[in-house]
Symmetry: C2
Subunit: 204 residues, 2 copies
DNA sequence: AATTAATTTAAACACTTGTTTAAAACATAT
DNA sequence: ATATGTTTTAAACAAGTGTTTAAATTAATT
């Protein structure tokens, strides 16, 4: 399989895997080269530096997943259904790549200055329409009086954090990978119902 | 102030700050030495290696905060009140040290093998009594039928994750530090009510 | 005051890091 | 077949890493 790939692709492929597993600092250029079975200097030939290679990979990783999430948030779906779809889709993405969250968090805390350039801010996290929708429902008395930002952060937290502490959860409950995924799959409904029950206006 | 401290204390003090801000890998022994205004080799004299110094600091950081949380979880408080106190206390701890979560997450993903030794697993995260309490309430029909683990992870996520993405939240909403804390303070009630409203048995 | 122990220092060690250089190998085009 | 451009290679570079050594300084003990 590695045979079919171009040198450039081999570098990206191997580096992505290593960055996800060990992070930027613990991955050396020689690690990447030996995993991709290429000469060390080819990394500098195709990408000018390790840093640039890293940024390329960040954009690749995040760009891939963010598009469909943004689409859901900006759609004209009814609020409840939108939340349900968003939660479900987001969890599916993270199940496909369970290391993504830890990766993004690491980037966020190592290079907070690169945040603007990072697609996360724009794509994963721009929710004008969603905010407006919530404010609207509040105004109509359909849901409890809430700050959209607080709701959005809550949803995000409930979805993403378990992946960030996957090791801890798995160890405590003696989960193998499949059992962890089962645990996470259940959260699609739990998170949805948790948010919905909170949003219900006071029934006094 | 640095004058009063012993060499050993100066090392721990400076290293803690650097590890929290920049992480283990991006902090060099010479960084620590120059911040503590001591000779490089004193680090190896008092602690045998950078790794051991790091583990010492992990235990210090986590041990400090975990005690009071464990106490609340294991107390015989009524469930609702227990959750309220736990959320509030946990948030207070993280406000006091907003970098703690990112630090722990970094350790968790870099050295997952050290997890057992890490006090997190035992202290922050052992909730036999809490689990039993929830199962009990479920059996009595006082709350919805839920898995205690899912509830615990949800509470943890709602509390901790916003600190892990502090930079993102602050940038998007143009928060300075105080405004971020305000945002977080509001979550004490939000998280409590979110969990409680979810736990309410079906009113059909 | 003399001797022993604890602390601090500067220098060096061995190793790894990302990157560059310049020659070699290969492919393409004239 | 020759020349040109692209890709790959091995070797070296300079800088930084954690740690050790052995001498110098300070403190404690007899």
């Amino acid at each position: 399989m590695n045979q079919q790939l171009s040198t450039q692709e081999k570098i990206v492929h191997s580096a992505t895997q290593l960055f996800l597993e060990k992070g930027y600092d613990r991955t050396s250029v020689r690690d990447i080269a030996s995993k991709a079975k290429i000469n060390v200097s080819l990394m500098n030939y195709y990408f000018r530096s390790k840093e640039i290679l890293f940024e390329t990979i960040i954009d690749l990783l995040i760009g891939k997943s963010s598009a469909s999430l943004k689409e859901i948030l900006n759609s004209d779906l009814e609020l409840h259904l939108k939340i349900k779809k968003y939660v479900s889709r987001y969890i599916d993405i993270l199940i496909e790549n369970p290391l993504l969250i830890s990766f993004v968090l690491a980037v966020l805390n190592r290079n907070p200055e690169k945040l603007t350039k990072l697609k996360v801010a724009d794509d994963l996290y721009n929710s004008e329409i969603f905010s407006y929708q919530i404010k609207n429902e509040v105004a109509k008395g359909k849901i409890r009086d809430v700050e959209p930002e607080q709701i959005f952060i809550s949803i995000l937290s409930l979805i993403a954090f378990p992946f960030a502490i996957k090791h801890m959860i798995s160890q405590k409950n003696n989960f193998d990978h499949n059992e962890f995924i089962e645990f996470i799959e259940k959260r699609k409904i739990i998170i949805y119902e948790m948010i919905i029950s909170y949003l219900k206006p006071n029934q006094n």
